[in-house]
């Protein structure tokens, strides 16, 4: 490995690294990883690592498997509850249990198969869910360690019920699990714009879980979060519309969907931690527009851009404008400066009233001749991190 007087180092060409990672001995792979870590800001190597991580690895050291467990809180609020289904066990016949189990599985698969991520923490963390939480609990949440789902308002007569069980929509399960991913990555603070971005990330990957499960393209998807959650007593398609924020429901009892779809309608409320579930409509729509601009399956390009930005670039206090810049930069790094993908990201954010501040990369540097964007404070790619931890014994 040669050292130049520039800030970045001379390294083995990407295709050779790829061969070493695929064919080399553990020691050789170790050296390749250290090479990559040393030059972590080289976007070409990061792309190699990401692509490698997305393909099945021959080594038993890289064979992530999902580990799921579902608990039954038995309508109480003590967590975790009673374990009722572990990984590999057959369906129980309890729809909430089996939906939580299956939904966690397809969410794990999206992150693992498409983005090379091994579970919530990228280290194979067991995915824990609790169902039948509380009585008449019309909610679901991530508590920092597990996903928890209520049964809706099951204690009311059928003609008064508004909510079904919260495991009924796979995008809700994906939404909650993604809160865990965000916690381990950007750690977006759950307040105001960072909180709305946190919420939006959960809706983005939640809807991608649903789209992938249904084999839907960006154009075919309804882009509705929580479809099927409402009973027929409610006038509404779901909880939120990423395609048209503010239109998901309009009901005499529930009221009207309060989400804005443009910065001009940003809601400076103090409730809901500064409107995190309300203002998420703005970045949601930005993602929708980006995905539809690109066409095809939204998880492949738009989702990848958003995932890499979440993993490597977004910071805990990032606001909408920063998220726009960072997703735009990520698109440039993944697909090239001026690429259709990068243009689509620009168009997505412009649609909601946010303009990319070109040349800003969070570190104040512009692009150089080979597209190097300057210091960004990014973490190594997922596989590099896993290797570093393994190598350093962490």
């Amino acid at each position: 490995m040669c050292i130049r007087e520039h800030v970045y180092q001379c390294i083995i060409p990407p295709h050779m690294l790829e061969q070493i990672m695929a064919q080399g001995t553990p020691e050789q792979r170790d050296h390749a990883v250290q090479n990559i870590v040393a030059a972590e800001r080289f976007r070409t190597q990061r792309r190699v690592m990401a692509e490698f991580a997305a393909t099945p690895a021959p080594s038993a050291l890289i064979s992530p498997e999902k580990q799921r467990i579902v608990y039954n809180a038995q309508n109480r609020t003590n967590l975790p509850g009673v374990p009722v289904r572990s990984e590999g066990q057959p369906p129980t016949g309890d729809p909430a249990v089996d939906e939580a189990y299956d939904g966690a599985g397809v969410t794990y698969d999206l992150f693992n198969v498409i983005y090379g991520r091994n579970s919530i923490d990228d280290r194979g963390m067991r995915i824990e869910s609790t169902v039948h939480y509380g009585v008449g609990y019309d909610n679901a949440f991530w508590n920092g360690q597990r996903m928890v789902y209520g049964d809706g308002d099951e204690d009311l007569p059928q003609d008064q019920r508004l909510f079904n069980r919260f495991t009924i929509a796979v995008d809700i399960i994906g939404h909650e699990l993604t809160h865990g991913v965000t916690q381990y990555e950007a750690g977006l603070i759950y307040r105001n714009q960072p909180g709305a971005l946190n919420e939006s990330m959960s809706d983005v990957f939640g809807i991608l879980v649903k789209q992938r499960a249904l084999g839907q393209t960006a154009v075919e998807s309804d882009w509705v979060i929580g479809g099927g959650l409402f009973t027929p007593n409610v006038n509404g398609a779901g909880i939120r519309s990423m395609k048209a924020p503010g239109t998901a429901y309009n009901d005499p009892i529930l009221g009207r969907d309060p989400q804005p779809g443009h910065m001009r309608d940003y809601n400076n409320t103090l409730e809901d931690n500064g409107g995190v579930h309300i203002n998420s409509g703005i970045p949601n729509r930005a993602f929708y527009v980006t995905a539809v601009e690109l066409g095809g399956f939204a998880w492949e390009k738009a989702g990848r851009i958003w995932y890499v930005a979440l993993r490597d670039k977004l910071r805990s206090a990032s606001n909408f404008a920063e998220a726009a810049d960072l997703t735009w930069q990520t698109a440039g790094e993944l697909y090239g400066r001026g690429s259709l993908e990068q243009q689509a990201v620009r168009a997505g954010w412009a649609e909601v009233g946010i303009l990319i501040s070109e040349g800003g990369d969070g570190g104040g540097n512009g692009g150089d001749d080979d597209g190097y964007q300057g210091p960004s404070g990014c973490l190594p790619t997922l596989l590099t991190r896993a290797w570093v931890r393994y190598v350093l014994g962490r």
């Binding site: 920092g144 009892i253 009221g255 009207r256 995190v276």
Partner: protein, 143 residues
């Protein structure tokens, strides 16, 4: 005793409001509610209870008003002590099944003065008090 509750946050992020006048409830239910309020030592609770931000958890703002005093507590689902959690669950259930007079926003905005005894229920139909109807930019929090 009048109890006002606003709930925000949760996965759906919708705002729920309710107002309860215990004198309008059946005697046993009113008694239970009074007891639940007593068990929270409500008037000694700090005005804000915080314990992290609680992803997708509910946020509550509860006001209890008697002839002598009025007190408001803001809390998240997580931060509420057990007795307060039980009261909140009870109020949420009432929000789904109870109708109230007068309009919730009128009473919530009233100055903090001793109240007059509640008027007995009339025969006119009561507005549903349980849900906020649009409330897009309605913000009852103090700025």
């Amino acid at each position: 005793m009048r109890i006002y509750m606003e709930r925000s946050g949760g996965f759906m992020g919708r705002k729920v409001k309710t107002a309860v006048d215990t004198s309008a409830l059946p005697a046993e239910e009113a008694h239970n509610l009074h007891e639940m309020v007593d068990e929270t030592h409500f008037f000694e609770l700090p005005p804000v209870l915080e314990d992290g931000e609680g992803v997708d958890r509910f946020q509550y703002k509860v006001t209890v008003e008697t002839m002598e005093r009025r007190h408001t507590v803001e809390t998240s689902e997580i931060a509420a002590p057990l007795e307060l959690q039980m009261l909140l669950r009870r109020l949420t259930l009432l929000a789904r099944t109870q109708s109230m007079r007068p309009s919730v926003s009128d009473v919530l905005d009233a100055p903090a003065t001793p109240t007059t005894p509640a008027t007995p229920p009339t025969d006119e139909p009561a507005p549903t008090a349980s849900e906020d109807d649009a409330g897009l930019n309605e913000d009852t929090s103090e700025t």
